[in-house]
């Protein structure tokens, strides 16, 4: 009923909701990756973070290189299909410049951790991990015996994962209203569950829109306002990832990252120039230039409207 204005700057949101030592979840499966939020975490020099993210990719490599992260919980640590994450490999393979604690899962294991966290369950069962070496390096992968007989009439065992409840979850979305009713389309991943699993949630959006836009299509609201603590308007904040209908993926940068991240010096220079050397994401966007953004522009493919009906 009440509409509370939760909009704030990225600087204020990171200052207010991400603290040294926190467990920070950044979600977005290739699409809508909250890169700009990661950059602001780097700018503000957070330390000792545990990062939770299914696909630890470029933004995680950057946060690692900036010294923000001591622990990583993930199910895929690679630069998409474009190559390696240089800093992550140095941290894991050589503890260079510092060791990285790593909790390894599979994708669905991570999904189930969010499901358990969001549903306040002590565990979530899944038909994975039987015979895998993962439980030998991750003692949180455990088994439960079903209280119902299995298909052969004998007791049946199944693996379970524990809940994850991040201190804060940060996601990127196409649009929200001021109070945080958040609409996403295209690949929607596990963002809603990651938000509900968290103690606090920050939603970064391409656009803050009028209440009437959101309310014209309530089924499109994947994250309701009651689960959101801050709304940050940050256009193009998912670059080099993409926002369906807003701008395309910067595949060239993904390919370039394997090269940049391979050399610690190159990587630090990149951070100095593009993250530490920019005041905020607006400056980063401007620095990339209008011509660059024109290259990622997309055309129009509008959804057909549906009728919600109105009582006559």
């Amino acid at each position: 009923m009440a509409t509370k204005d939760k909009t704030m700057s990225m600087r204020a949101a990171i200052a207010g909701f991400v603290h040294d030592g926190d467990t920070v979840c950044l979600e977005g499966f290739t699409h809508l990756i909250p890169t700009a939020a990661g950059h602001e975490i780097i700018r503000q020099g957070r330390r000792d973070l545990t990062v939770v993210r299914m696909t630890a990719d470029i933004v995680v490599d950057q946060m690692l290189a900036a010294g923000c992260v001591t622990r990583l919980v993930s199910s895929f640590v690679g630069n998409s299909s474009a190559g390696s994450l240089g800093e992550l490999r140095r941290r894991v393979e050589s503890a260079d410049p510092a060791p990285l604690a790593f909790e390894e899962y599979s994708h669905y294991g991570m999904v189930c951790r969010y499901l358990a966290g969001s549903q306040r369950l002590p565990f979530y069962p899944l038909r994975s991990y039987g015979g895998s070496d993962l439980p030998s390096v991750n003692s949180d992968l455990r088994k439960v015996t079903s209280p119902y007989p299995g298909p052969d009439g004998e007791p049946e065992q199944i693996y379970v994962v524990p809940p994850v409840n991040p201190d804060v979850t940060i996601i990127h979305a196409q649009r929200a209203d001021r109070s945080g009713n958040t609409q996403m389309w295209g690949l929607t991943g596990v963002q809603a569950e990651a938000v509900y699993a968290a103690r606090k949630a920050v939603v970064v959006v391409e656009e803050v829109v009028a209440d009437a836009v959101i309310r014209s299509d309530p089924n499109r609201t994947l994250v309701p306002a009651h689960a959101v603590d801050a709304v940050v308007c940050c256009p193009r904040g998912a670059h080099p990832s993409f926002a369906q209908g807003y701008y395309d993926r910067d595949n060239a940068f993904y390919r370039a990252w394997s090269h940049i991240s391979k050399d610690p010096r190159l990587l630090q220079d990149w951070l100095d120039e593009w993250v530490r050397g920019t005041a905020d994401h607006a400056e980063y966007v401007e620095k990339l230039g209008a011509e660059f953004w024109a290259g990622l522009a997309v055309g129009e493919a509008l959804s057909e409207p549906v009728n919600y009906g109105r009582r006559l």
Binding site: P218, P224, A225, Y308
Partner: protein
């Protein structure tokens, strides 16, 4: 405005006052809706109602007739599917107050909505839990509105415990999130209970109702607060808002 006060109006007004300072309310349709709407206009401007059908942030053009009324959906802020509603919102711990009704309630605030008589061959088959079990287990507190206050409804022993309060859950080693029933609003007054291990106590009576009358209408030896307040009757403002703004078509108030 000179029409006589109805039982629905009285219960709605009293329930609305109890929502002062509460934020997120889980509601079925009917009196809880009226109470929440009135509270929004009076004591709890920031109140958010989540409906058991999955509607969040409703802005209905008319007063809805059911929790699934189409007017709740059109112009709503969000409509979420059942697994998310019950899993993330309710079990996830986002609800401050849930409203429940029942055929029977006991001194600990446990509820029967399943049967009168034996479960296997009942004299009356009632609708059952719906989401009641989940509301009790997961809302921070539960308000119960019972129109009829008599010893069969306020019973020493439930015919069947559909919806257990936390005391019963803890006895089985299960720890619910909330404190169970904290307010029972009836035609005679208000019973209250602050937390686990505590019985419902009579804390207030409506004007003209005696403590003895409430005791006689209660099927167990009802505890009574040191000071039993008199419930202030609905104010002119409360009644006006209820009759003119909340339910002008008298969908519920008839």
């Amino acid at each position: 405005m000179s029409a006589p006060l109805t039982s629905s109006e009285l219960l709605s007004v009293v329930a609305s006052r109890e929502l002062a300072s509460r934020r997120k309310v889980f509601a079925g349709i009917g009196l809880p809706t009226l109470a929440a709407e009135l509270a929004h206009l009076t004591v709890a401007p920031d109140i958010e109602v989540v409906y058991e059908s999955g509607v969040c942030g409703a802005h209905p053009s008319r007063l809805p007739e059911t929790i699934a009324d189409a007017v709740l959906v059109t112009d709503a802020e969000a409509v979420i599917p059942m697994p998310m509603l019950f899993g993330c919102v309710l079990q996830g711990g986002h609800i401050d107050v849930g409203f429940l009704g029942a055929a029977q309630i006991d001194r600990w605030g446990s509820l029967n909505t399943s049967v009168i008589g034996d479960w296997g061959s009942p004299s009356v088959r009632l609708p059952g839990s719906g989401g009641g079990v989940e509301v009790m287990a997961n809302a921070r507190e539960v308000f119960v509105v019972m129109r009829r206050h008599n010893p069969r409804s306020f019973t020493g022993e439930l015919d069947f415990c559909t919806t257990p309060g936390p005391d019963r859950a803890l006895a089985e080693g299960i720890r619910p999130l909330g404190t169970g029933v904290t307010r029972v609003i009836t035609e005679l007054g208000i019973l209250a209970r602050e937390g686990v291990g505590e019985e419902l106590r009579l804390v207030a009576v409506h004007p003209g109702v005696t403590v003895d009358r409430v005791r006689a209408a209660t099927g167990w030896d009802l505890r009574v607060a040191g000071t039993v307040e008199e419930v202030p009757p609905p104010t002119w403002d409360e009644l006006r808002l209820l009759r003119e703004d909340v339910d002008p078509d008298r969908v519920y108030l008839r």
